[in-house]
Symmetry: C2
Subunit: 428 residues, 2 copies
């Protein structure tokens, strides 16, 4: 594996992640000092995307309808600065770094800094491909006003009306250290090292302006967001997300995901954006594993092997909620998850789910700390999430095996134009 073509070690050229790009020299010199300088979008973004890369710029942010990647690192931040200018500089620096990393380039674009400076990029993704990295940014209610109702950055009059701390649902057992946050970043990639590298570098750039509040790694997607993807399984062993909203359903995506200008006149900056609901849902793995398959399937409403509704057919057959078995009871039980979550029982609303399985070790009794990190994108949480979760938390038989331990809601601004920055319209 010796590489005779490698330059001698003290030749500091060519730190680009993908040498094949021949990228030396392009990109702005964004260093540790440069981060605070609001570089905007680096020139890194002027070359076409590398193979395996999702475009960073566009009408909507990437990482929403993009076919879901397999790994997640999600981070929520508390903003620590009181300066609007510093907050805007942070968003500009994050934008530049995200644009570079989405293309498989190091933060700073690969231009070397003085040898006696810390490197612009932390380095652990050097040599790795872009891995379809997407970085999706959101704004929490606390960014607009603090706990005392104080307008923190002169933007509270533009706060979206639906952006509030989610209500307490029955059986919630929320941990403050896993909930809330002024800013969020959802990093998704095929390679977890690429996702972790991105969150680490964005945290580093935020130093002095925002501090990591909580973060969550996810190792397996639990929903498909494209008809090109097979339905994955959650840690209950069942296929999850069979009926999820898919990117290919254009008009439904417009109806249920993207905020429209008329939705909220005070928050027109959010047009083409969305809302992100995050819920850390612990699963009672050990009790579930001692439950009969018949009961598991009854609680879910689908068979485990193929994901078909218990009313018959195969995975993508629509469930029939009126069909009854020989015992006279509905084949889809009244308290089954699929019945209660189905659009036909929720005023026809749908959502785009984009969650991940997680395992965070075990507790002192040897029980796995594991479950589903639920992420959903909705046009209106008041219509699409809160009523459904209220109903599920009261009536879903599955709740016996679930505990919600983290919760957050974020407004997700629209995509970034070239030369712009995340959330630009909010601060215009």
């Amino acid at each position: 594996m010796s590489d005779p073509a490698a330059p001698p070690p003290h030749d500091r050229r060519g730190l680009s992640r993908r040498r094949l790009l021949g990228y030396a020299g392009a990109g702005a010199a964004v260093g540790a000092a440069g981060f605070a300088g609001g570089m905007g979008t680096a020139r890194a973004t002027d070359t076409p995307p590398a193979a395996g890369a999702y475009a960073f710029h566009g009408r909507h942010q990437a990482g929403i309808v993009s076919p879901a990647q397999d790994r997640l690192h999600f981070a929520a931040f508390d903003v620590t600065t009181t300066s609007r200018a510093e907050l805007v500089m942070l968003l500009k620096s994050w934008t530049a770094a995200a644009a570079a990393m989405s293309r498989g380039l190091p933060v700073g674009g690969g231009t070397p800094l003085p040898y006696d400076s810390p490197p612009a990029d932390t380095g652990e993704a050097l040599g790795l491909p872009p891995s379809r990295l997407t970085l999706t940014f959101g704004f929490g209610p606390g960014l607009f006003r603090d706990a005392n109702g104080h307008d923190r950055f002169g933007i509270d009059h533009r706060r979206p009306k639906a952006l509030r701390t989610l209500p307490h649902f029955p059986a919630d057992n929320l941990k403050p250290e896993r909930s809330g946050g002024d800013l969020c970043v959802q990093a998704c990639a095929d390679d977890p090292q690429v996702a972790v590298h991105a969150i680490r570098n964005l945290s580093r750039i935020a130093f002095g302006s925002a501090a990591l509040r909580w973060s969550q790694l996810g190792f397996g997607r639990t929903s498909s967001t494209s008809t090109s993807q097979a339905t994955p399984r959650n840690l209950f062993g069942f296929k999850d997300g069979t009926d999820n909203l898919k990117a290919e359903e254009g008009s439904a995506v417009d109806r249920f995901v993207w905020v429209a200008p008329e939705d909220d006149p005070a928050a027109r900056w959010l047009s083409d954006g969305s809302y992100l609901v995050a819920r850390r849902i612990n699963m009672a793995i050990e009790p579930w594993d001692r439950t009969a398959l018949s009961e598991q399937e009854r609680l879910i409403g689908r068979d485990r092997a193929h994901g078909a509704p218990l009313s018959g057919g195969s995975e993508h057959t629509a469930p029939s909620f009126s069909t009854r078995g020989s015992d006279g009871k509905p084949l889809m039980a009244m308290d089954s998850h699929v019945r209660l979550a189905h659009p036909s029982h929720n005023d026809g609303v749908r959502m785009l789910r984009r969650g991940y399985n997680f395992t965070d070790g075990n507790d002192e009794l040897g029980r796995l700390d594991a479950g589903l990190f639920f992420i959903a994108y909705v046009r209106d949480p008041d219509r699409q999430y809160i009523p459904m979760q209220t109903r599920l938390s009261q009536r879903d038989g599955l709740m016996e095996y679930l505990q919600h331990t983290g919760s957050a809601l974020f407004a997700v601004p629209p995509g970034v134009r070239r030369g712009g920055f995340v959330g630009e319209a909010l601060f215009a």
Copy 2:
């Protein structure tokens, strides 16, 4: 994605993970009750391995010289039973389950259980390929004698002499809840969901006999164990494991990894096995990221971009420890990690490292809880690990950025013959 060939949901045939194997009907009916019945190796193992599968049976356990997979779930267990027979039954049940899962088959081999029983397999890996899963088992010192010196299972006279709690090294900050254990399982796979599935199912099988003590997920391998693999990077951003012992170095592997019959006459059962050193090493990510590249490279002893020793050449050039720079100082600093860890400064000993990067969220100050989960396989920890770690913990300049927070040592029995079970010779 509708599958017209799928059987109706209530037809309980065909739960095999890979339908293409056409596996229905083979394998023994190992159910929740069967686990305690000591089924030994299921018949599942009589068919040839599937594509993407590593062989489970052999002279040595898989997961040591097997080219390192990208993802890890490592688990340590406390044995809770006092019955030798139950311990042996656990090892037999684990063996059967590991043989099946290594082939991409569900626990129990896919034979359906009564619909009113819990499923034999928890299901989240159904449909996923074997993903090169390896399951490597080890025995901790506490399996042989308890804290009072009591012989727990009539095997203390066969305890390997080197199998002791590792000594306290300077600067260790070990957490008991991340250290020790009577049994360990290292699950490695290309897909984290496959590794997590394996540990979960083995934990489930252990219910009543052993309880999970601690566990660790790793997302990126930090060493190559084969010349066919590129050198990966750790979270300091540097290539790690350039000089690692590789599977292809047959005589060195025999000399430094596998225990020989003459090594320990009281523990001949360990022949063809090894010792596993596990160390959870937290990295001080934020201070490191504020350190000049020049200082980072000096502390490591290699350049960051290419991994070449600072004495010159490219990645696989042997370092020259005597070469001095124009300032008269050695180019490889006296306290550099590569110098202090090099075989030439450690009586010529080497080890086979097989560690992983980890990130476990963040602390209340927003600092990442991240680092390297160090795993090394050695023939003799007294010669190959303890002296080196003593020296590193005293003199390695990198220690300023490292804190060891977990520690364990396990004796890794030899591979399993067909029809046998893990550790069989110890209990013969």
